[in-house]
């Protein structure tokens, strides 16, 4: 009954050649960049695998534009002048699409935690910041691709494929996607359970969307709503998107004044560059908080 196996039982066989050990380099910027890139690549692989997600995420913008937009247009025909409500809603729907997709990308880090993969990332000899930067750029890319699918529908709502407009919209969506993902990462650092994260997301996403001016113009709002809209960083992403679209559609000056009034701070018309700057600044601030939070956690 002596079935004790000796350690190194195969010692009788000729020892195979020892592997040449690898020497890992010290931490460096180059190493951090590699980490950012590979985290980003993984997001891309996962996104391309999930065809169902791509399709279901398209459903919501379609509903907004073609069902809500069509349904409400009979009510608003007088108010929107020669601009179709669906056309008006188009940039807002782009923003909403990016908002939801980016937030879902950030949630993936909670799934990663649930399935253990986050641990593989957090124990690596690399700055945690580079993992989060990779996640944020990944979320931005995925959200922009999703937004591009919606953008492809532009002619259906009377928006032409103007190359400059398309380029500007893509860049603005990328910026919005980055900031929303960074915001999502801040939440994901604290919320460890996927169910709570889903609930929290619903609670956060809808107010962000409704208070951004994505679905209504910023004209003649009651004071409280006007304040809320101006505090919401998403507003500063929606407005440049709408500016870019309105340049390329035929609209009377009355309609433009009603549907796309300038965004102002105490009477000062905020330039588009500053608006985008607000979104970038908010994104970087959220990313810094997320990095700080993940550095604290073990």
């Amino acid at each position: 009954m002596t079935t004790v196996s000796e350690p190194g039982a195969a010692a009788g066989a000729p020892a195979p050649a020892r592997a040449t050990p690898i020497h890992l380099p010290e931490q460096s910027l180059r190493h951090d960049v590699r980490a950012v890139k590979v985290v980003w690549q993984r997001e891309m692989i996962r996104f391309s695998q999930d065809k169902v997600r791509i399709l279901t995420s398209l459903l919501q913008p379609l509903l907004y534009m073609f069902v809500l937009g069509t349904g409400l247009s009979s009510l608003t025909r007088g108010a929107t002048g020669d601009v179709n409500l669906r056309t008006f809603m188009f940039p807002g729907v782009l923003a909403v699409s990016v908002l939801f997709t980016a937030m879902f990308s950030a949630v993936s880090i909670v799934w990663d935690r649930e399935f253990g993969f986050l641990r593989e990332m957090l124990v690596a000899p690399v700055r945690r910041g580079s993992i989060l930067v990779g996640k944020a750029i990944g979320g931005a890319t995925v959200a922009t691709i999703q937004g591009a699918f919606v953008l492809a529908l532009a002619p259906l709502v009377g928006v032409p494929y103007a190359p400059v407009m398309v380029l500007v919209l893509l860049v603005e969506m990328l910026v919005l996607g980055f900031s929303v993902t960074a915001f999502g990462l801040v939440l994901a650092a604290r919320v460890k359970q996927i169910q709570s994260m889903m609930g929290l997301m619903q609670m956060v996403l809808l107010p962000l969307m409704f208070l951004s001016g994505a679905l209504y113009p910023l004209a003649n709002l009651p004071a409280w709503l006007n304040v809320a809209v101006h505090v919401n960083p998403i507003t500063y992403a929606v407005h440049p998107l709408r500016d870019a679209v309105f340049v390329h559609i035929d609209a009377s000056s009355q309609a433009v004044a009603a549907l796309n009034p300038p965004l102002t701070w105490w009477g000062w018309v905020v330039p588009a560059v500053v608006q985008v700057g607000v979104v970038v600044a908010a994104g970087l601030a959220f990313l810094a908080i997320a990095i700080w939070e993940f550095n604290r956690a073990d």
């Binding site: 692989i45 000899p125 690399v126």
Partner: protein, 334 residues
């Protein structure tokens, strides 16, 4: 920049290590060293402090007292250096199930900064070692539990760590798969200059280690080679059946000076080294022997002797400890 420590330094060095969670002392002051190239096992029931210790050594948890060095680096002050020199295989899978085996390894290589030119060769080598090279392009969610564990071992080795930590490497696997994992680990010892540090609560697996530390309630109760531990507990039990049992018992008394008794219908004796005793028995007993069996003391006996409990009992009360401490329970779940 920290200088690379000499290779003759101990792979793991632990001094008076403590970890306290609230009122519970998960690790209550332990000291030990693991030599380079050794396979070292932590044996004990769940909740004994094995996983907490391994988490401290892997820089995942900070100790509340004492110090530990891994591959010559301090686990608190030289975290990155430690991480570059260790490979980790956790109890729960940490693979991305939606990526292929090769994609999982490439991700790891990039994250650990394995020099680009060496990635392909090394990836081939480790996948070959665990018998998964042919499955490199399959998604991990098509893998069995044993294959996933093998892939994790391959990944833990990808960056040539000096110390490989295996936290319960075979938990949840069927006996056949468990023994195949062990044959991979043995092969690995042949092929790489590596120290293996593992935890287990399977007694039979601890036999594969060069040395074992038995842990109970946050302390190391005893630390030695499996053979020495078993020898310290008692003698081997030799049972023989013969054509003439009374004559055999007389002969044992007269020629070997050992006292025999009949248990379970066989002549039973206790001797220090049963395997060496049996050939003498055949040669010198003078009574025809029909069958012989030698039973060694098991590590179960060792655990019982040193802790006063069987490992199964300890396991049960260990779980109670977990349940009564929500924070630890939450950690255990994660």
């Amino acid at each position: 920049m920290a200088l690379a420590p000499e290779t003759t330094a101990p792979a793991v060095e632990v001094r008076d290590l403590h970890k306290r969670y609230g009122s519970l002392e998960a690790v209550a002051g332990i000291d030990f060293e693991v030599g380079a190239g050794e396979t070292f096992g932590f044996l004990g029931p769940n909740g004994a402090g094995k996983s907490t210790t391994i988490s401290i050594l892997c820089t995942l948890v900070d100790p509340t007292g004492g110090a530990a060095r891994v591959a010559g680096y301090d686990v608190v002050r030289q975290r990155s250096d430690v991480r570059r020199n260790i490979g980790l295989v956790f109890q729960d899978t940490t693979l991305d199930l939606y990526l292929t085996a090769a994609q999982n390894l490439r991700f790891h290589a990039e994250l650990y900064g394995v020099p680009r030119g060496l990635v392909d060769e090394r990836l081939h080598k480790v996948l070959e070692m665990v018998g998964l090279w042919d499955r490199r392009d399959s998604r991990v969610n098509t893998f069995s539990g044993g294959m996933k564990r093998r892939l994790e071992i391959a990944r833990g080795l990808l960056h040539s760590p000096r110390v490989l930590f295996l936290d319960e490497p075979t938990v949840g696997l069927d006996p056949q798969t468990r023994s195949s994992i062990w044959s991979y680990i043995h092969e690995l010892r042949q092929q790489e200059d590596i120290t293996i540090f593992l935890t287990t609560h399977y007694m039979d697996e601890a036999e594969n280690c060069d040395r074992i530390a038995i842990m109970s309630q946050g302390r190391i109760v005893v630390l030695d080679t499996p053979e020495a531990l078993k020898a310290s507990v008692g003698k081997d039990r030799v049972q023989i059946t013969t054509d003439d049992d009374p004559a055999a018992m007389r002969a044992l008394d007269e020629r070997f000076g050992v006292e025999a008794a009949v248990h379970d219908g066989a002549v039973t004796i206790s001797v220090a080294d049963g395997e060496q005793f049996v050939p003498r028995l055949f040669a010198e007993l003078g009574v025809p022997i029909r069958s012989v069996s030698v039973a060694r003391p098991t590590l179960d006996d060792v655990f019982l002797t040193y802790t006063g409990r069987t490992i199964a009992d300890a396991e049960a009360s260990g779980m109670d400890r977990l349940r009564s401490n929500p924070m630890l329970a939450a950690r255990a779940r994660r």
